[in-house]
């Protein structure tokens, strides 16, 4: 008779292994960091050898990359994209601007810390991060997935009121559909 706990472990291992090797990145570039993505994807750095590739729509994507500064106007679209994505989903904050505002820390129109509005798994620092750092950030994310620690969607669901309150503080005219899966 197979022990249930152990068999669940094996299933989890296989599940996480396959998840971490097929990361579909949402093709949505905000700010200036999106220019590093083609360099990461193409033949010199070849991110596809790690299973990282583009996805056309939010519902097909696993990873949302926030590449660089995020204007409040863009934040509205980002939240909408993020909520349309299905679990398992992961968020990577890319560049200094998502961490503490970067060189736009005193701008009236860009947010300063991304994790106040949507949960973030991995931050990649640098302005701009080179493709090596981008790949290293993705490998860090893969490690988290393998250990079962990347629970982005769960964190968002559990702390939805807190995130919503923060989002509504910035976006004054809230006319958005609710995606509650």
């Amino acid at each position: 008779m197979i022990n249930d706990k152990d068999s669940q472990k094996i299933v989890d291992y296989i599940q996480n292994f396959s998840r971490k090797h097929s990361l579909f990145v949402m093709a949505y570039g905000t700010g200036c960091g999106a220019i590093e993505i083609p360099a990461t994807m193409t033949s010199r750095y070849d991110a596809e050898r790690f299973g990282i590739r583009g996805a056309a729509t939010p519902r097909q994507a696993d990873v949302l990359l926030i590449t660089g500064y995020l204007a409040t106007k863009t934040l509205k679209r980002v939240i909408r994209v993020y909520e349309q994505m299905q679990e398992p989903k992961y968020v990577i904050g890319f560049g200094s601007c998502t961490i503490n505002g970067g060189m736009y820390y005193d701008s009236y129109n860009t947010i300063n810390a991304l994790e106040q509005y949507i949960p973030v798994d991995v931050y990649i620092n640098g302005c701009m991060p080179r493709p090596e750092s981008v790949i290293s950030g993705f490998i860090k994310l893969q490690e988290l997935i393998q250990q079962g620690k990347a629970d982005n969607g769960k964190r968002y669901r559990e702390n939805l009121e807190w995130y919503r309150a923060n989002q509504k503080k910035i976006i004054k005219n809230w006319k958005m559909p609710d995606y509650n899966w």
């Binding site: 005193d106 129109n109 810390a113 976006i171």
Partner: protein, 191 residues
């Protein structure tokens, strides 16, 4: 060098009919200063009579000490290849400026931007109120008395750790206890 013949000729052609002042800045740059009411006539005259058919740019400067907004219209002639700057100053309180999108359609874009960023009203402007910003209900952000740093501190979350980001060299010296090398001192911000 050149003796600025075409620039002088343009200056006379623009200033004499309207009795306004102006000067030649340098080769291929001429500026004229006029009243708020005269601007559209000068622009129309330059477009129809002198061949300055291209509106290159419109911009606004906030002279907060004089309590004025300065509006600058940059127009260009493809034949003469000279930039003509038409400058005017308007009051900073309740600023209203004549709408020139009957002369150039593309002025509409610049005027909408100025309405949003400086709060200057252009009567008869086509377009929704929001241009680049969304749901903005504060003071227009490009005015000089709008403190953008303070606004960002109040509105957005500030991660601790930026306080000691003043000068990298001095922070390093404080941490390590060594001295700043002489060659690096001349680049220091605190003199």
């Amino acid at each position: 060098m050149t003796d600025l013949i075409k620039e002088q000729k343009l200056l006379e052609n623009v200033t004499n009919p309207f009795k306004i002042k102006g000067r030649v800045i340098r080769n291929r740059r001429v500026e004229v200063f006029c009243d708020k009411e005269t601007v559209s006539s000068v622009l129309l005259y330059a477009k129809t009579q002198l061949g300055y058919i291209h509106l290159a740019h419109m911009t606004c400067i906030d002279w907060i000490d004089e309590n004025k907004f300065e509006l600058i219209y940059t127009i260009w002639s493809p034949v003469e290849k000279v930039h003509l700057f038409v400058k005017t100053k308007i009051d900073r309180e309740n600023p209203v400026m004549e709408n020139i999108d009957k002369i150039w359609d593309q002025a509409n874009t610049y005027e909408r931007e100025m309405r949003e960023m400086f709060g200057i009203e252009f009567p008869g402007l086509i377009g929704e109120h929001d241009f680049a910003l969304e749901d903005w209900d504060e003071m227009p952000p490009m005015r000089k008395d709008f403190d953008t740093h303070q606004y960002a501190e109040q509105t957005y979350y500030n991660r601790p750790g930026r306080e000691d980001a003043k000068d990298v060299r001095e922070t390093l010296v404080e941490r390590s206890g060594t001295e700043v090398p002489d060659f690096a001192k001349k680049y220091s911000r605190e003199r």
